[in-house]
């Protein structure tokens, strides 16, 4: 009995000690980790889309409520004007969700670039959506409105051969982005005005 008690006490104490330690550490590092994640997971795509911007888009980000959730927007300043924003959207690919950064110029509603952030597509097949710049390049200059579809389905997107599923997923993500953009445009414009 005494032994049993000791076992329970030791285990509980150890668990609480460990839990406490970790919780404390977690609080300490939470912000840093979030920054790091943005920087290294989404950062490359964002910076690629906003190449040449005068500011640091990751530092200059803000959030807008989109229904239930909050969405982050990353601002790029070109020629002194903060007219370009980048935000994330998702579509379903072959291996799971595909995260896609879409950059749009608020002035003319044109896409300035897209870039895949996270995906679990097959290396060498679907993953070419992330690595092959030609695929992303085709979206540049299109207007961020309406539906995006692959050519097989009668749309405008050239699919990556052998990875039509991935390509469709990305088309869906852009379509989603268009929806979000259309619905949030007023608040966006508002926020951007406050930007110097």
């Amino acid at each position: 009995m005494r032994e049993m008690l000791k076992m329970i006490i030791v285990l509980t104490a150890l668990c609480s000690f460990s839990g406490g330690l970790l919780a404390a550490l977690r609080n300490e590092t939470m912000e840093k980790i979030e920054n790091q994640q943005l920087e290294f997971v989404k950062g490359p795509a964002i910076r690629n889309i906003l190449k040449g911007s005068a500011n640091d888009p990751i530092a200059d980000r803000f959030k807008i409520k989109d229904g239930e959730t909050e969405k982050s927007f990353f601002v790029g300043k070109f020629d002194g004007k903060a007219e370009t924003v980048v935000f994330e959207s998702t579509g379903k690919g072959f291996g799971g969700d595909i995260g896609l950064m879409v950059g749009v110029n608020v002035a003319d509603d044109k896409i300035v670039g897209v870039g895949v952030t996270t995906h679990s597509e097959t290396p060498g097949i679907g993953s070419r959506a992330q690595t092959d710049p030609r695929f992303a390049a085709q979206f540049k200059g299109l207007s961020l409105t309406g539906d995006f579809k692959v050519k097989n389905d009668g749309g405008q997107v050239d699919a990556i051969s052998g990875a039509t599923v991935t390509s469709k997923g990305i088309a869906v993500a852009v379509t989603e982005a268009a929806k979000t953009y259309t619905s949030l445009k007023p608040q966006l414009a508002e926020k951007l005005k406050g930007f110097k």
């Binding site: 030791v10 460990s18 330690l21 590092t29 840093k32 980790i33 790091q36 290294f40």
Partner: protein
């Protein structure tokens, strides 16, 4: 039987150098030795966890009842692993991404539980510290050596720096999965032949 602290330390560097002498914990060895950078990162993480858990287990060895000792070891090791995970995410995020699930998998690395069970639970704090540090450094050395071979031939670089001329076409096999196994196997062979003498 009783060894000096120095002996406890140095045994991990040669006589019992993991993973060659204690053939355990092979997965990370195979997975993270594509490049020297990954290897050193992994090595440092392991040193941290190994030393930390060895010391903590040794400190608590009088209190921990033997029936639940394995559970306690797991908690201790997992705690340190989580600490490493959080710290790496906060400060060396790209490395964290490269090492992937092999950081959380340090938890099940046979070396750690093995050391807690075989050494720290039976020895004093100083010896346990020396033991953990020695084995950890030994492990890092092995990883780095293997990674150096694989990176130099397989990618033509060392710690990211070009080694050969621009015309060199790297021997990709070395950094692919099959090459990892074959290189480790052959390295083990070399260690065996040296050890014999």
């Amino acid at each position: 039987m009783a060894k000096s602290v120095t002996q406890e330390f140095t045994k991990g560097l040669w006589a019992e150098i993991p993973p060659f002498r204690l053939v355990l914990g092979l997965c990370p060895v195979l997975a993270v030795t594509k490049s020297v950078e990954n290897a050193i990162g992994m090595g440092v993480a392991v040193i941290f966890v190994l030393v930390g858990s060895n010391v903590l287990v040794s400190m608590l060895r009088k209190i921990i009842p033997s029936k639940v000792r394995i559970a306690c070891f797991i908690i201790v090791v997992a705690t340190f692993v989580t600490v490493v995970e959080l710290l790496m995410q906060a400060y060396t995020y790209p490395l964290f991404l490269k090492l992937g699930i092999f950081i959380p998998l340090i938890v099940v690395n046979c070396i750690l539980l093995g050391r807690a069970e075989a050494f720290a639970y039976k020895n004093g704090i100083i010896s346990s510290f020396a033991d953990g540090l020695g084995l950890g450094i030994g492990f890092t050395m092995s990883l780095t050596a293997l990674a150096a071979i694989r990176e130099v031939f397989g990618s033509g670089t060392f710690y990211g720096n070009q080694v050969f001329g621009p015309d060199f076409q790297p021997f990709n096999f070395m950094v692919e999965a099959p090459g990892a196994f074959v290189c480790l196997g052959l390295m083990l062979c070399v260690m065996n032949s040296i050890g014999k003498k």
